[in-house]
Structure formats: C-alpha cells, structure tokens
C-alpha cells in the first residue's frame, strides 16, 4: 500500500505515521476524519452551550433554558436558527473586507487544532510528531481574527477589546508553552498520541504546577473569566464583536465554545491521560474528561470576578512566567537525575514543591495598584 507523503525522505511527512491497517489509504482516512472532526466539534459545541447555560443556571439559583425540547436541549438549535435569520449589519464606516473575513480567520484555526487530538489510540487525522508545537502555533492565529474584527468594526469598544486581546494572548502564550515543555520532557515526545501513551499515571500528578499554569494560561488564551477582558460586557459592551450580528456573530460564538472544547481536549490529552482509563471504551473516557474540564472552566466563570488589564499582564509576566520557568527547571532535573524513581516519590515531591512555590508567590506577588497620574 502506498501512502501519500508530501515530504519524501523526511520524517516530518504525515503520511508515514498513518495507522498501517487503515483501508483505502490516505485520502479515505483524511475524508473520514475531516467529517468526524467537523461533526464532533459542532455537536460538542451545541452540547457545551446547553451544558454551560444549564450549569450556570444551577449556579445562579435559576433554571436555565428549559422550554425547547426536554430540559431545553434544543435551545442551541433554536438560537442557531434565530441567529441565521437575523440581518447581517456591516458598519457603514467599517472596513468591509476585514469585517467579513474576521470570523472566518478566527474560526478555521480552532477547527484545525483537532487534527492532532487523539480520540483514542491512533484515531486522529494526522499523528504529527510535532503535534503539540502545531497546536500552540495554530491556536495563536485566532487572535488575528479577533483583532481584525476589532479593527474592521470601526468601533471604539471593539478596538479596546481587540487591543486587550492581542496583549493578553501574546503574554500568556509564553507560560503556556513553558508549562507544556515539562510534559514533553517527561513523555519524551511532541506527538499527542505518544504523550497519551506515556501516561501510565496522568501527568496532572507528575506535573501539578504545570497543570495549574497551563489551565490558567489556557483560560486566558480562550478568554474565559477571569480573563474575559476582550468582551468584558460590563466595561466595553461586547468588545470585539459589538458590531457583529447574524451568522458572523454566531461564528464568533462558535469560536468561543470551540476554543473551550479544544483547550479541554488538549488539557485532557496532556495532563489527564487522554483516552486512557479502565472499563469504559477509550473514546468515552476522552469525552468524560473533556466535559469535566469544561465544567471546571464554566464553574470558574460563574464564580469569580474579572481582573483588570494591567493586573492581567502583571500576572502573566510576574507570576506565571517565573513559576513556569522554575517548573521546567525542576522537571528537567528530575528527568535527568531520577529517571527510575518510584512515581509516588516524584508525585509527593512535586506536590510539595508546588505548595511551597504557590505559598511563596502569594506572599511575593500582589495584584493591585494601577492609578496613573494625569
């Protein structure tokens, strides 16, 4: 069987890493997985929207959507139909092309991330051996779409939101990548499938601090509370999508939840053992973990207030970045010095180090200040 390899003779080619027993070769595999990923993302986003609205309803002593379908499960469908029928308004003085292109630019990268996420052993579109690097690279493109939206709208609130986003995403990318490096060091591979295979114990136990940093950074990356500054409704109305309506708004809404889904899937893969788990089929384990992480994300959303823009930047540079560097250093030393140590020793050692570091930083680091003399 010959498979398509765009880079003959190189180890980067994704054709080479296909499961060898896949019938029909590369193109069938490609076609099937594109459909699977698209359906998966759409269905999960619908489910997430319903789950978040119901869940937040319970957190806020109310019911949440409960009119359309049993327990309101069809509410996202009703919303989608409504939003499709809305008029598409483009600001008269906006940059029309940029305004039109922005939702597309924001949406495509999120969908593309799922190409390397293993749903179960080997079940992924392309088992890139630079998988996690690919995820980091692709996920930063969304911010370009968001900035295009803020710019193209010709609205001051949109511009403020967009400027905040760019600063935020550029800052949080760094601790995010550094915290991933700890996982990569332990697993010894950049491929997501190999990382899952390496997790005989979930990496959240071996890398508790790395998990915390990644989770916080990811919340900032996908603009979830307490870092939802770009669409802070109480400050800048709706931020970058203030001027969007109809299907374009729906796309941005979709991006928000698809990003949450992507981040949940990446956290599951990197730290929670991916599709691994006893008794239940692997795909189901993957789903359960993804939903669990998403639950954590919207639990935080419904609980705590929002930080201010300068505090947000200070938190990334003064708190997360040094912690991530220290975590990377410690992990490197551990991998080098104690490769054969009992996992339990490492787990308790790392938990103790995390506790000490967090206690230290909560003493050293204070959010606050911020007045400028004018």
């Amino acid at each position: 069987m010959t498979v398509f390899n765009p880079y003959p003779g190189s180890s980067i080619g994704y054709g080479q890493t296909l499961p060898p027993d896949w019938p029909g070769g590369f193109w069938l595999h490609w076609g099937v997985f594109v459909v699977i990923i698209f359906v998966f993302v759409m269905a999960m986003v619908m489910g997430f929207i319903w789950f978040e609205r119901r869940g937040i309803g319970r957190f806020q002593v109310r019911l949440g959507p409960n009119r359309v379908g049993p327990f309101g499960v069809l509410q996202p469908v009703a919303d989608a139909i409504k939003v499709l029928l809305k008029e598409d308004i483009i600001p008269a003085k906006g940059d029309k092309l940029v305004h039109w292109l922005a939702p597309v630019v924001a949406f495509v990268p999120v969908l593309v991330i799922f190409a390397v996420v293993p749903f179960q052993d080997g079940a992924l579109l392309a088992d890139l051996n630079i998988g996690i690097l690919y995820v980091v690279a692709i996920s930063s493109i969304s911010v370009v779409g968001i900035f295009m939206a803020g710019w193209g709208s010709n609205n001051k609130f949109s511009l403020l939101g967009a400027m905040r986003t760019v600063a935020q995403e550029v800052s949080y990318e760094i601790p995010l990548v550094l915290s991933i490096l700890g996982v990569v060091l332990i697993a010894g591979s950049l491929s997501l499938n190999d990382i899952v295979k390496a997790q005989s114990i979930p990496f959240i136990l071996l890398q508790p601090l790395g998990f915390l940093i990644y989770f916080i950074g990811a919340c900032a990356e996908i603009n979830r509370t307490p870092f939802d500054l770009l669409e802070a409704d109480s400050e800048i109305v709706a931020g970058f999508h203030t001027e969007y309506s109809g299907m374009k708004f729906a796309l941005f809404y979709l991006v928000e939840y698809a990003e949450a889904l992507a981040i949940s899937a990446i956290i599951t893969t990197l730290f929670l053992g991916g599709w691994r788990g006893p008794v239940l089929p692997p795909f189901l384990w993957f789903l359960i973990k993804v939903v669990g992480v998403f639950f954590l994300i919207f639990w935080i959303r419904s609980t705590i207030p929002r930080v201010r823009v300068d505090q947000l930047m200070a938190f990334a540079w003064k708190c997360l970045l040094p912690l991530a560097l220290i975590n990377l250093l410690i992990t490197g030393v551990e991998v080098l010095v104690l490769p054969e140590a009992l996992p339990w020793t490492i787990i308790f050692l790392n938990l103790a180090i995390m506790a000490v570091l967090i206690a230290l930083w909560s003493k050293l680091f204070r959010l606050g200040g911020g007045r400028v003399e004018v």
Partner: protein
C-alpha cells in the same frame, strides 16, 4: 523610540450595560487610562418637581415613588415627613413603627441591588446579583402584602400609612428577620475575601474624607470615607431614637469600603427590624387629615437617611392645596459630583466599578 499616543473620546452610555440607567460618561482615554471624564445626564428627566407643584399634597406621593424606584418606600417616607413637619400633623404610634419597618426593609432591598450590581460590574458573571435578587424577592413579597405593589408602593400617607398590614405580614416579617442574617453572611462570604475582588476594589476610586464632606456627599459613600454621619442618629426623625444600632464606617473611602459599609448596614437594618417588631404597638395607622390638605404658609426641609444618602424634600406652602415650590435633594445626584475626581487616572474597568460603587439611580438623578 518613544511611541506617540493620542487621547480619544469614548462615550460610555447612555445605552451601556453598566451605566445603571441612561447615564453617559464622556471619557477621554489615553489607551485604557481615563484622562478626563464629563458626566452627562438628563435623559430620564420627567419634570417631577414641576409636576408636583400642580398636584395636591396627597397626589404627590405617587410621584415620589418614581424618584429612586429601587427605594420607593424611603421616598414616600421623606416626603410625608416633610409635609407633616410643615402642617404639624401627628402620626399614630403603630403607623410610625410600620414606616420604620418599611424603610428598613427598603434599605436592605436597595443595598442588595447595590452590592449585587457592584459585583456584577466587577465582572462576576451575574451570580452575585441573582443571589441578591432572591432575597429581594422576599422583601418585595412583604411590600406586596402591605401595599399591593411590588415596585412603586404609594404606601405612606400624610398622617400615617394608607392601610394596616394584613394578618400574614407579621409572621412573614418575623421569619424574614430570622433568616436574613444567615443570608447576609452568605453574601458576605460570596466574594468578600476574594483575591481578585480585593485587587480590583481595594484602593480604587478613593474619595478622601475632606472631599466627601466638601461635596456634601451622604449615605454609604460618605460613611465609607470614614465620616460617622447618619441622619437617623444626627437628626433623629420618626422614632429612630428608640432603636439601638451602630453606624458602620469605612476607613479609606475606596470601592471596597463602600461595598463593605453596605453589607454592614444591612445587618444593622435587620437589627432595627427586630426591635421594631418587638415593640410594634396596636392601634390606628392614620390620623385624621383632610383630603385637600392646606398647610399654613411657610417653608420646610424634611430629610431622611435613604438607602443612597440624605434624601431631602424642600416644600414651600402658600396655603393652597398644592405646594408652591417643591424641590428634591437627591442623594444620588450629589454623590455623583465626586465622580470625576474619583475616576481620573484609573482605567476604563475601574471607572465602571467606581461608578457602580456610588450606587446611583437615574430616576432620582434626572427627576
């Protein structure tokens, strides 16, 4: 290379999620920092002062409901107290107690909205305010029992209250007074020591003591700056001299202090309610007042401690059935005058919470 920046003007409001009505802040921003702010209001002007001069003294009461529509009972009380002072009308004992009960319930309801909306402005996505609204509903149920209305009560009358409370009111109020301290603790624990809230609200939007006194701020805004001034103690009206309660004060006068003072005041209000419930006498609720009241020629200024500050009514009578001159000292409006001083130099996000911490009601500001 020094970057050249240019300030730009952003209109926050009049249609903005956090302006608590139709208020407009014309802010000049340098990046995110506010370099200048001009408050623009008047979008809700209905000419209540002029309308009141065309109505009978009783007919004005529904108009006062529409001032601070989150604290209608307090507005009623302030107005009828002023008229009673002008015409020297006695009020039966039971009516006095019912008025105090209503005013204190109203204070709790208004502070619940204030605290909830403040936390919402801080970005706590709707959760705190929905918890607060749950308890506010119970207060509105009590008001509905007494007056039949849930927002604009029109309950007080010159010389008493419009009607006695129904039988089921007292047990319901008793239950409310018993459970409310627990709920206030819950609200307190929701976010009081939250690191993000502390970072956002502590030291932000400081209103110094001297400035607060100079602009004649009142209510929680003044007390948060450390001034122990409460009209219930300073110039006791109605029967407030019969109750024991403390005046909670802040120390610095920042947003966090204003938030804390409101929580503490709710506790004190529950304390007053408990005492009022114990002392509540039986008897008439309304003295004999002619329908077309003609107070003697003269002028009067009656003021009370409304939830948002000192609410005063200045009335001039020419012995006709309508006030000759009717003026309202609206606490929200006067507390707003410090807004620019508190805001300049802070960021947009701070401007929103500073504005939220003042707790204004546009119905009262624009009248």
């Amino acid at each position: 290379m020094a970057l050249k920046t240019e300030p730009f003007v952003v209109n926050i409001g009049p249609a903005h999620p956090s302006t608590h009505g139709v208020f407009r802040m014309r802010t000049t921003l340098d990046g995110e920092v506010i370099v200048d702010m001009e408050p623009i209001f008047g979008y809700l002007h209905r000419g209540i002062e002029k309308l009141a001069e065309e109505r009978t003294y009783t007919g004005v009461i529904p108009l006062t409901d529409r001032l601070d529509y989150l604290a209608s009972m307090s507005n009623n009380l302030a107005y009828v107290l002023a008229v009673e002072k002008l015409a020297a009308i006695p009020v039966p004992g039971r009516a006095e107690y019912l008025r105090v009960i209503m005013a204190e319930l109203q204070r709790i309801a208004s502070h619940l909205i204030a605290v909830g909306a403040f936390l919402n402005d801080c970005g706590a996505f709707m959760t705190p305010i929905l918890y607060m609204l749950r308890e506010r509903e119970k207060i509105l149920d009590l008001f509905e029992m007494a007056s039949g209305q849930r927002l604009t009560y029109n309950y007080m009358r010159v010389g008493g209250v419009s009607q006695d409370v129904p039988e089921e009111f007292i047990p319901a109020l008793d239950k409310f007074v018993k459970v409310m301290p627990g709920f206030i603790d819950e609200y307190d624990q929701l976010l009081a020591e939250n690191e993000i809230l502390l970072a956002r609200a502590k030291g932000v939007g400081i209103l110094p003591k001297e400035l607060a006194i100079n602009i004649s701020a009142s209510g929680p805004v003044l007390r948060a700056s450390g001034v122990k001034w409460d009209i219930r103690k300073a110039d006791p009206y109605s029967i407030y001299d019969r109750f024991e309660f403390d005046i909670p004060t802040g120390t610095v006068g920042d947003c966090y202090d204003r938030y804390r003072v409101r929580i503490q005041e709710m506790r004190q209000s529950v304390r007053i309610l408990r005492q009022a419930l114990e002392q509540l006498p039986q008897g008439e609720v309304r003295s004999d007042v002619p329908h077309l009241l003609r107070p003697p020629v003269g002028e009067v200024y009656g003021h009370i401690e409304a939830p948002k500050g000192e609410l005063g009514f200045y009335l001039v009578s020419d012995n006709s059935i309508a006030p000759y001159r009717f003026h309202i000292r609206a606490p929200s409006l006067i507390n707003l005058t410090a807004l620019r001083d508190m805001m300049v130099g802070w960021k947009v996000a701070d401007a929103i919470i500073i504005f939220g911490s003042i707790d204004i009601c546009m119905g009262e500001v624009d009248r």
